[in-house]
């Protein structure tokens, strides 16, 4: 087999290429930044004679506090790699907490069942109308999806107990995915910039959340969902001691691996990179650009929904005013992790490191007893610095 290892052609050219920064994965840079920030705060705390910063409990706290932004940022990574973004992520999180709490609170009436059937059907219909071909089979598939959704929901509610919580989570995710899919269809069909579309969706989803919750917090009875974000699960429930950290942290890690593999190994991932790097090329090469865009939005919505479930676990109530402005933290985590807002670049692992870095900053500031405004200024400066470093890297490469 012919091989094109470095040096196969012109040795001089290969030598130059060997020194180029693209040989180093971007994650290495982000990790270095994380270690630097961590070391800085460690030094500052130790200088004061404080050791709480590196205590096991505080480290667990840091990683637990990363979960919500981190999961949202994984979905945002897909969107940003594909050259899009979703400003409605914070609103979708709030919407999910409200919808989940409402289903848990019960009583689950016929309205909710019809809502699930309609929602599932609408998701399929949106998808087909935007990117599929109309046929009886397609409409049939929509009906089947709607019926299956409703039946599964009914079964879960009927089983009650822990299964009720599963149904509540599923409905919450469905709501977030539906909103994001609408954004995706509008973006890809009407060629409106995602910035504007999702800015609108940010208001709409927030409005729906407030409407459903009647402008109040929704307080459901406690379920196993509430243990998802306990910093020390062994203290809350001895049977969960083997988890060591909050179940949400394991979910975050699992999802990071999942998104990493999705982006690097699958055809879908390749297409997401191609669409983000150059939509015209992707189209020329036979990639269905609109379908990839919508699917990416839908996935981003599911991730925002999962972040919403974690937020709910944290709050134990449905709060329509939760997570205001969190989309910006989420986008910042992706950018710090090497994502480029012009598309075609980004990585799940980088995003995870970026999200942890943001939490370490905030946690470190708190440990130092600095005021909230100091945190804001430092976090803002770090975001700008990350983008500036990215720009310098691009120019070196250029």
């Amino acid at each position: 087999m012919p091989s094109l290892t470095p040096g196969a052609g012109d040795p001089e050219q290969a030598d130059r290429a060997g020194r180029r920064p693209w040989r180093l994965p971007t994650e290495v840079w982000t990790l270095a930044a994380l270690l630097a920030v961590f070391g800085l705060f460690l030094g500052l705390c130790l200088a004061r004679g404080e050791t709480a910063f590196v205590s096991a409990y505080n480290l667990k706290t840091i990683i637990t506090h990363t979960v919500i932004v981190g999961i949202g940022a994984l979905g945002m990574t897909l969107l940003i790699v594909s050259g899009n973004m979703d400003l409605s992520a914070g609103s979708l999180i709030a919407l999910t907490t409200v919808v989940t709490a409402l289903v848990l609170k019960g009583p689950v009436g016929n309205g909710a069942v019809w809502g699930v059937a309609g929602g599932t059907g609408a998701l399929a219909a949106l998808w087909l109308s935007a990117h599929g071909r109309f046929s009886l089979a397609a409409v049939g598939m929509e009906l089947v999806a709607a019926v299956l959704g409703a039946v599964a929901f009914l079964a879960a509610v009927h089983a009650g107990g822990p299964w009720l919580a599963v149904a509540a989570v599923a409905v919450g995710l469905l709501a977030a995915a539906l909103c994001a899919t609408v954004s995706g269809v509008i973006t890809s069909r009407f060629r409106i910039t995602p910035f504007i579309v999702t800015l609108g969706m940010m208001q709409i989803a927030r409005g729906i959340a407030k409407w459903l919750a009647a402008n109040q917090t929704v307080v459901p009875p406690p379920t196993w969902l509430n243990t998802l974000m306990t910093v020390d699960p062994g203290l809350a429930d001895p049977r969960l001691g083997w988890l060591m950290v909050a179940p949400g942290v394991w979910l975050l890690l699992g999802l990071t691996v999942g998104v990493h593999l999705l982006l690097r190994l699958t055809v879908f991932g390749r297409h997401v990179f191609a669409v983000g790097s150059n939509p015209a090329t992707a189209r020329l090469c036979g990639v269905r650009v609109g379908a990839i865009t919508t699917l990416t939005f839908a996935l981003g919505g599911v991730f925002a929904g999962l972040a919403g479930v974690m937020q709910f676990a944290n709050l134990t109530v449905g709060d329509p005013t939760a997570a205001v402005g969190m989309e910006l933290d989420i986008i910042a985590a992706v950018v710090i992790g090497g994502g480029s807002l012009s598309g075609g670049e980004g990585s799940a692992i980088g995003t995870l490191i970026g999200a942890v870095l943001m939490t370490v900053l905030r946690n470190g500031c708190t440990m130092m007893g600095w005021e909230n405004y100091v945190q804001s200024i430092i976090v803002g400066a770090v975001i700008i610095g990350a983008v500036a470093i990215d720009g310098i890297k691009h120019r070196l490469r250029g």
Binding site: T266, V267, G286
Partner: protein, 515 residues
Amino acid sequence: MPATAQPYLLLHGVSKRFGGTQALRDVDLAAYRGEVHALVGENGAGKSTLVKVLSGAHAPDGGEIELDGQPFQVRSPSEARQRGVAMIYQELNLAPHLTVAQNLVLGSEVSVWGLARDPRDRMRRALELLGHGSLDLDAPVRSLSIGTQQIVEIARALMAEARLVIMDEPTSSLSADDAQALFRVVRRLADSGLAVIYISHFLEEIQSLAQRFTVLRDGRVAGAGLMADTSLAGIVRLMVGRDLGELFPRTPHTLGDEVLRVSALHGYRLPRGVGFSLRRGEILGLAGLVGSGRSECLRSLFGLHPARDGTVTVRGSGVRITALTPARALGLGLDLLSEDRKDEGLATRLPVRLNACLSSLARLSRFGLVSARREAEATDHWCQALGVRCASREQPAGALSGGNQQKVALARILLHNSDIVFLDEPTRGIDVGSKADICRLVGGLAAQGKAIVMVSSYLPELLGVCDSLAVMHRGELSPARPVAAWTEESIMLYATSGRLAAPVTEPRSLVPCPA
């Protein structure tokens, strides 16, 4: 002619090296005041590098440059401007929303108490010198034609007291009338005592404009002299260094059954009622002027350009052209090489591997998971077969040279293995060696039984490579005739007037025609 014995600009032994490539090697050049000096050469011959050295964008590695008897060592374009060297590029550098007057002094505004004062009489004089004294100084630049905008750009150079004007392909985006107006301006510039260096691919315009010429080939001076002593054919020989026949080797191939039939293809504006048929192993050339609808025709057939109506038959089965998308066209065994390599043909920031495999991921994957090994093997195989010079398959495609980028774009098409291939300007902007490689490859594809439609603006290439040829004029396509029935003259006649000359069988001329 007010030429003085002392050259105004003198280059001696100028060299420039970029990594492994010697872009300029011992270049000598002498330009005189009052004369237009033509700089010619194929793409990649080193013209742009030389211009960048003169404009201060690149520093030469060796050699001496003298301007007006003084050593000329500038480190930045602004320093070059201060020494009186002005650059006119093919892309205009004007602020479209500002007025003519504002553009003329942009960057060198004079202000009194913070208020801009326009030296209007100097502006008038500059425009009058160029024969455009009546131009409205308060008109926004974007309301002017491209040709007039170019005049404004040259007037700006005059306002900055330029004494050496370097023009890089100034007519490539102009209409014929605007180009004629520009020639008058260039002559006036020279007559007023400036030295002009004029770079162009259009040899006829150089012949009528320039007094001296220098031909670059592979970074060296291949020849220089007085225009009056030389013929166009002589310059072409210096440019390519060999006869054109050797540049376009033919691979013997035989024609089979019809695989594609197009009739009454209408776009919304272009093309209009296009029809042709294509057989296995056939190379059909589409000639015509830029903007005549050649690209739109191919793009409609690939589903990239909206078509209004038309019947397309692929291997005997009809296809609704209005429902065609690139994904579906690929499924039918069609493929297209885009003329816009940087913005469409390649995702330049993604690695070579991903670019080569993008159309064929379905074949290289199982259950939605891409096999990294098969992907790497396929990329290596085609890069090797096409002679792509790259440091690694993970290198961003944009980091390669133009010719190698085009080969990567072709690798994608070969890997996907469609049997009907549309090539839109496959050799545009790449070096002579890669051009010959690609022409040889096209012949090889036909020999394998693929059917090819090739659009090119370079007639010798079409005449050298194709089996049959049709010419586009304002969206209408001439009947396809065997290539031997065409000459460059009869092609240009149809392309410019829509009239079909009687088929002739004279030996072909070797002078490239401006198309």
